[in-house]
């Protein structure tokens, strides 16, 4: 074992004075192993999503609370959760999954405003924030606040109402958790809002164990059912109970707790590997330099700088994306 470790990690006559871990055949093995690893993760995730999946906990109540907390910190009034805007957000999310697009306007030219109008909400001003693939509600709102254009929506004084939809499905062939946030002001009384017929995307409906509440779907709700609750929502004082009453089960939360979280697993393994390679390169370089060994090989310091640069870049990768 000792000999093997020495052979693998230290420059030695047995490995032609270059740590075996840095030999060309070893480097090729790493490439192949990571390719297999990638493939394996996809297969295991597809077959056993509860074992290897994407941990997600995004809830409308938390999104609303975070949004209003940001507004409060800017001296603005709290937004009221509006059933019509939530229906518009849900319809938008469904349209995105159905037509497989990630944009404010659909490929057919439908704008966010058409969904708002379709829900019966009469607005004087309106706005839309989109997010996908975040793992927590706080992460979504923090990312929106870090983006000037999204922040502008959240802290716009003119808005009075907000609606949310959180939906899991497949977008562009990738498992995606969409968050749609729609803002508005000047909406008509919710009692006038007609019910919107909506269909849950098959992929969303069949997601692992994502969906929380037990309320009827949006398409089954009537305007009258929505009215009193929406009117009475005090989002700051008690956001949870009223919200679950206003929103459809299918669009109010996506929660998944797989045994192993894919982003965590892949990052841990990738970072450990880079750390190991950098360590071997440093030791190899030091030994060769001290023993003044001449050999034909790449420059260790260059490799180290390259891997450090990639390490830094990889730490910047965020799974969540805004639009």
């Amino acid at each position: 074992m000792h000999q093997f470790l020495k052979h693998f990690f230290l420059p030695h006559h047995s490995n032609n004075h270059r740590a075996k871990a840095l030999h060309i055949d070893s480097l090729l093995c790493y490439v192949l192993l990571f390719a297999i690893f990638n493939l394996g993760i996809r297969i295991v995730h597809r077959e056993f999503p509860n074992v290897l999946g994407y941990a997600t906990d995004i809830r409308v109540d938390a999104l609303l609370a975070s949004t209003n907390a940001e507004r409060a910190s800017n001296g603005l009034s709290a937004l009221k959760l509006n059933g019509a805007l939530s229906q518009a957000a849900a319809a938008k999310a469904q349209d995105m999954f159905a037509n497989d697009y990630w944009a404010h306007n659909s490929p057919q030219g439908k704008t966010p405003w058409s969904f708002i109008v379709g829900s019966g909400y009469k607005y004087t001003i309106a706005g839309e924030n989109l997010a996908k693939n975040f793992s927590t509600s706080g992460g979504v709102v923090s990312a929106w606040m870090a983006s000037p254009t999204h922040r502008e929506n959240i802290v716009k004084p003119g808005y009075q109402d907000v609606g949310f939809a959180v939906v899991n499905g497949t977008l562009n062939g990738e498992e995606t958790t969409l968050v749609v946030q729609m803002f508005g002001a000047g909406g008509a009384p919710i009692a006038e809002v007609p019910p919107v017929k909506t269909v849950i995307p098959e992929s969303a409906a069949s997601s692992e164990k994502p969906i929380v509440a037990e309320v009827p779907q949006l398409g089954e709700q009537t305007a009258e059912e929505i009215v009193p609750v929406a009117k009475s929502v005090d989002v700051v004082a008690s956001p949870v109970a009223p919200i679950s009453s206003v929103l459809s089960n299918a669009f109010s939360a996506v929660t998944k707790t797989p045994m192993f979280n894919i982003p965590t697993v892949t990052r841990d393994i990738a970072f450990m590997f880079i750390g190991l390679i950098i360590g071997v390169l440093i030791i190899d370089g030091l030994v060769v330099s001290r023993k003044k060994i001449v050999r034909v090989a790449g420059h260790n310091m260059a490799h180290i700088l390259f891997f450090v640069a990639f390490f830094i870049a990889l730490t910047m990768v965020r799974r969540g994306v805004l639009l």
């Binding site: 790493y30 690893f37 034909v296 790449g298 390259f306 891997f307 640069a309 990639f310 870049a313």
Partner: protein, 82 residues
């Protein structure tokens, strides 16, 4: 020796540019992947030029730099697309 420093300054610029561009494309993973691939290719080219100037450019060295670049790309793919 002076040439060596210049070469490493060039490498530093390549890598710093890569990181800077990568961080600027936070909302677009496809661009991030392309930046990663471009940086890796630039690194392989840098390695070939560096060793050519040092007078020890061999096929083995070219393969080594190419595989190091390939490892970086596969790691990036692992993080970006899983």
């Amino acid at each position: 020796m002076k040439l060596k420093y210049v070469n490493f300054i060039v490498l530093g610029i390549i890598l710093a540019s890569g990181i800077f561009t990568f961080s600027g494309a936070q909302n677009d993973r496809t661009i991030q992947l392309f930046v990663g691939i471009a940086t890796s290719i630039a690194y392989v080219l840098w390695g070939m030029i560096y060793h050519a100037l040092e007078g020890d450019l061999h096929l083995k060295v070219v393969i080594e730099y190419s595989l190091v670049g390939a490892i970086a790309i596969i790691l990036l793919l692992t993080i970006l697309w899983t």
